[in-house]
Amino acid sequence: MINVSVQPAPIDLPAELAAVEIKGAGGIASFIGTVRGDGGVTELTLEHYPGMTEGALIGLAEEAFARWGLLGVTIVHRVGAMVPGDHIVFIATAAPHRKEALESCAYLIDRLKTDAPFWKQEKRGGEAAWVEAKASDGAAAERWT
């Protein structure tokens, strides 16, 4: 079961976590990415490419589903304005055994960082700046190929 959502609304973690629990799953791994308040960030805005974003996330989910023999995959990514502490992304994978759940969850967040069309803008007080892509994200995505 694949569940992908790109939404301005806050992520309902308990509901999303409950939804990915599939009868027969022995392990459920999840990852939550949050807005960090360090460096004086007061607001974070996520822009995306409607249509392509959903397609990219479904593609990644299907790839992980097949590669690790998963029972369930959920990817929820928030867009729009957020403040420190808010959840940006929630990824959860359910598998018969823990290894597949843990690996596929790490895979999905690594690949999402380079393969899905999102852009972050940070506000520090009145100053807005687009976040630059990190070389380490490219390296992290590469290790799965």
Binding site: M52, A116, W130
Partner: protein, 83 residues
């Protein structure tokens, strides 16, 4: 051809979408970037450093030397930073 711009590309150009009809000589994404740079000061500023741009044709990432072919929708944007 539908052009889409995101993040600072959109901000510099001043719009997120426009419909344009590039000349026949514009065959690749790189050609398109070059041609767009001549349209306005905002376009020039956005297209100034092609190495900082990424592209998608019909919602699939492509390298800048990709042929436009019969593309309906071409998007230009900086490297992605989601997650």
């Amino acid at each position: 051809m539908q052009l889409l711009y995101f993040a600072w590309v959109r901000e510099r150009i001043g719009t997120g979408a426009e419909t344009l009809d590039p000349p026949q000589a514009v065959r690749t994404v790189a050609d398109l970037i070059d041609w767009l740079g001549g349209l306005s000061p905002g376009h020039a500023e956005a297209m100034r450093e092609p190495a900082k741009l990424r592209a998608a044709i019909d919602q699939a990432f492509v390298p800048l030397d990709a042929e436009l072919g019969h593309a309906k929708e071409v998007a230009l944007f900086p490297p992605v930073t989601g997650g």
